[in-house]
Amino acid sequence: MADQTLPIHGALDLTPPREREHTLLETLHSWVTTVDHKKLGLMYMMMSIFFLLVGGAEAIFIRIQLAVPNNHFVSPQTFNRLFTMHGTTMVFLVGMPLVFAWANYIVPLQIGARDMAFPRLNAFSFWLTLFGGLFLYYSFIGGPGLYGTGSAPDVTWWAYAPLTLKAFSPGHATDYWALALIVTGFGTIGGGINIIATVISMRCKGMTLMRMPLFSWVMFVDGAFVLIVITPLTASQVMLLIDRYLGGHFFDTQAGGSATVWMHFFWIFGHPEVYVLVFPAFAIASEVIQVFSRKALFGYPAMVAAIIGIAFVSVSVWAHHMFTIGMTSAGNAFFVLSTELVGIPTGIKIFNWLATMWGGKIRFATPMLFAIAFLFQFLCAGLTGIMLSIAPWNWQLHGSYFVIAHFHYILVGAIVFMVFSGIYYWFPKATGRMMSETLGKWHFWLFFIGFHLTFDTMHFVGFEGMPRWIYTYPADRGWQNINLVVSIGGLIQGIAVLIFAYNLISSLFKGKIAGNDPWDAWTLEWATTSPPPVYNFATDPVVRSWRPLWDLKHPENPDWKYD
């Protein structure tokens, strides 16, 4: 089906390339100075994959330490740094850049634009994010400070006060943590503004908001969401630094400050943040499930409403992370209700994806395998989420390994799975070459098995009373068998990720030539060459529905007839 059918008149620039060979230095220079949304998207992606490997290595160290009781593989101090850096890395240096990797690369192509609305802001945001990340890791060298205590931050990624104050965290480790998040936070806000402006003002002719592919819709909502979410985080970091250096008493309980104020600020950021991170997974799933089921997305307006609904409701649920801090019973009841309400739009999304597959012709290419696993795991994560929303049960489950299992079901089972799916799906567009399907299937099955070995069993050790954040546990608690299985699953996932990394690199050089539209897809990015030229489209595309390429491929039965 590939090139010859395609498509939009004049969209392909058929003049032969006349670029000469570039030296290595010139190539590097072009990447460092670029304001091209595609290059920035790829750089965000490379940053995420790099930190995914770093954060993954930290997870492997954590799992080696916990594989057997009373282990001495790492010291308690090192262990506390490992899980703090693992969490901070995965959320801020993997998850957040991924949002902008996808939004940058795909959204302008999908809405028929030439670039993001603010290309320079785009580059600035990327470099802020990257240097924020490098700054955080510099704490391994710079953290000891004058006191000679600590290196990397060791206060968990929640960094609950007053543990983060000078009295309990001398040295500079916590400063690196706070400052790094402020810096990456500004990068994130720049990126969010850019997505909003791009979607509002750069859509091609004919593309009304309700003719925008769902992927771009979700990223649009995500961009707006980021502005709401990051602000309280940045504010709380500033307050923390004022407490640490200017004698403020926001969180200084010994001077009458409040530990719970930090919790509220952190979770007003922290809970919606989970949705900020998972939205790209929804976005990718909405594209992949359509294309590989060969059917239009079921209930497009409902899906748009659901994503906006999730964003709205999820800013009112933060204190379900705080059921154990001694809120009033009425307060607890309120947050039970608001939390459970999130389940309704989330359920709508799952049902619509299922209905999209219903009656289709499902092709099990690697992107679709990851998407199906995502659906299954996202369902499970939603159900364990319901369990955690039940405040009395949450008094038992909070802070235990059950919670770890639950949110890794989201962060890995939903987000990482869909990130892999999206990479297999759009790699041909970005590089012009296909990724190996054989290695892709190995990657999928190993990762799937490893994931379930690790995170299914973790729920049970949570039921058995094992709390999170512990560097060791006594042998007589009966937790060692499950912990060993968890660790083995972690290693299997590590192997799968290495296969993926190999596949990525080898396909870049030796992959089959992809052509413009290898998956026979329906959105505008597949109408241009692979990889797309700097200017994306030789002429401005004009669309009449949210599946412009379907309309072109099926002139006898176009979508716009049903609009």
């Binding site: 101090q77 219903w358 299954f376 364990t384 319901i386 039940i390 038992q396 954040w469 068998n481 049903y562």
Partner: protein, 352 residues
């Protein structure tokens, strides 16, 4: 004939039970080495346990329905070899269907919310009976202080450390223990899964919780909110005593420390080598409050917040250099000589 959803529920219940049985313990009675939330031995934990099974049934039913649908769709609508090249019929949506899968979840949410709210109020707002014991727990990096008020007309207030003793309760004559939760430094969390859900100890933010254990014995748990280097070894031990045991324990704890003249050398070391800056022994000059009260040290089974058995060797090693046992703990090694170590250990061993 049962309706179909009931059968699904039964299957789900069976599945959960077998999973728990596989994980090594099912519904055992009394205190367990593994502090499972599914082996409740006190009213709050039991109420949560019953609620949790109701929730498990609902979520299992949802799981079976949706995962079943997903499996069906994958198998039924897979592309088959020999399919023609045509695209399947395009369906864009249906308002009726959307409405159905919006309304049904709303009804489920209503049921979940009402059930949950009932249990929240039942546990959190339970009135305190007059027969209740009131104890104040104070979280420290990385140990537990328990302040007991004066019992009856004799004795005095006293402080127990790391091992909480509470009376056995019964359904006929409930003698629950209400625990006020404070923190001396950072956030901690009091979690003994078989007795109750966890409640945090937050500085400047007093909390409380209650338990009414119905079987005697030792219940274990640990701090559940990260509190620093040795968070992992801030273990909880709750001894549920029969009325006679509890009365005897109280009577002993309320006494000042025994002063045995044969260990006066050790006491001298204790009171001149900075030990008493942090530790108290009631009835002596040692009144430090930063570290654990040692008045009845030998009445405890463990040292270092439940980490090691309270033996002479462990005690001596602990005094010599606590960091070899619990790296990162706040007690420094006082560089005592071997003789001084023996003397102090001898002295502490008389504090029964």
């Amino acid at each position: 004939m049962l309706p179909k959803w009931l059968r699904v529920e039964r299957i789900a219940r069976l599945a959960v039970f077998s999973a728990l049985a596989l994980s090594g313990h099912a519904m055992a009675e009394g205190p367990q080495a593994t502090p499972s939330i599914f082996a409740p031995a006190s009213t709050p934990a039991t109420q949560i346990y019953h609620l949790s099974f109701f929730i498990l049934e609902i979520t299992a039913a949802i799981f079976v329905a949706v995962a079943g649908l997903l499996t069906y769709v994958i198998i039924r609508y897979r592309a088959r070899t020999g399919d023609d090249e045509s695209e399947p019929a395009q369906v864009y949506g249906s308002n009726q269907v959307e409405l159905a899968w919006t309304v049904i979840p709303i009804l489920i949410v209503v049921v979940l919310f009402l059930t949950t709210a009932r249990v929240i109020f039942a546990i959190q707002d339970a009135p305190m009976p007059t027969a209740a014991l009131e104890v104040t727990a104070v979280g420290h990096q990385f140990w537990w202080e328990y302040r007991y008020p004066k019992q009856g007309l004799v004795g005095q207030d006293f402080v127990a450390v790391n091992e909480l003793h509470v009376p056995l309760s019964s359904t006929d004559h409930p003698t629950p223990t209400y625990i006020k939760l404070l923190s001396a430094d950072v956030d901690h969390s009091f979690w003994v899964p078989q007795l109750a859900g966890k409640t945090d100890l937050i500085p400047n933010h007093p909390n409380d919780t209650w338990i009414d254990p119905l079987q005697s014995g030792l219940y274990v748990g640990q701090c559940a909110q990260f509190c620093g280097v040795q968070h992992a070894n801030m273990l909880l031990r709750v001894y549920v005593d029969t009325p006679e045991q509890f009365a005897a324990w109280l009577a002993n704890q309320a006494k000042p420390g025994i002063q045995d003249p044969s260990v006066v050398a050790g006491r001298h070391v204790f009171e001149t080598q900075a030990c008493m800056n942090c530790h108290a022994v009631q009835g002596t000059a040692a009144t430090g409050r930063f570290g654990p009260d040692l008045t009845h040290l030998m009445s405890r089974d463990t040292l270092a917040s439940g980490m090691i058995p309270n033996t002479r060797d462990n005690l001596r090693q602990w005094i010599k250099d606590p960091n070899t046992i619990k790296p990162g703990c706040l007690m420094p090694a006082m560089q005592l000589s071997e003789d001084q170590l023996d003397q102090v250990t001898n002295y502490l061993e008389t504090l029964k």
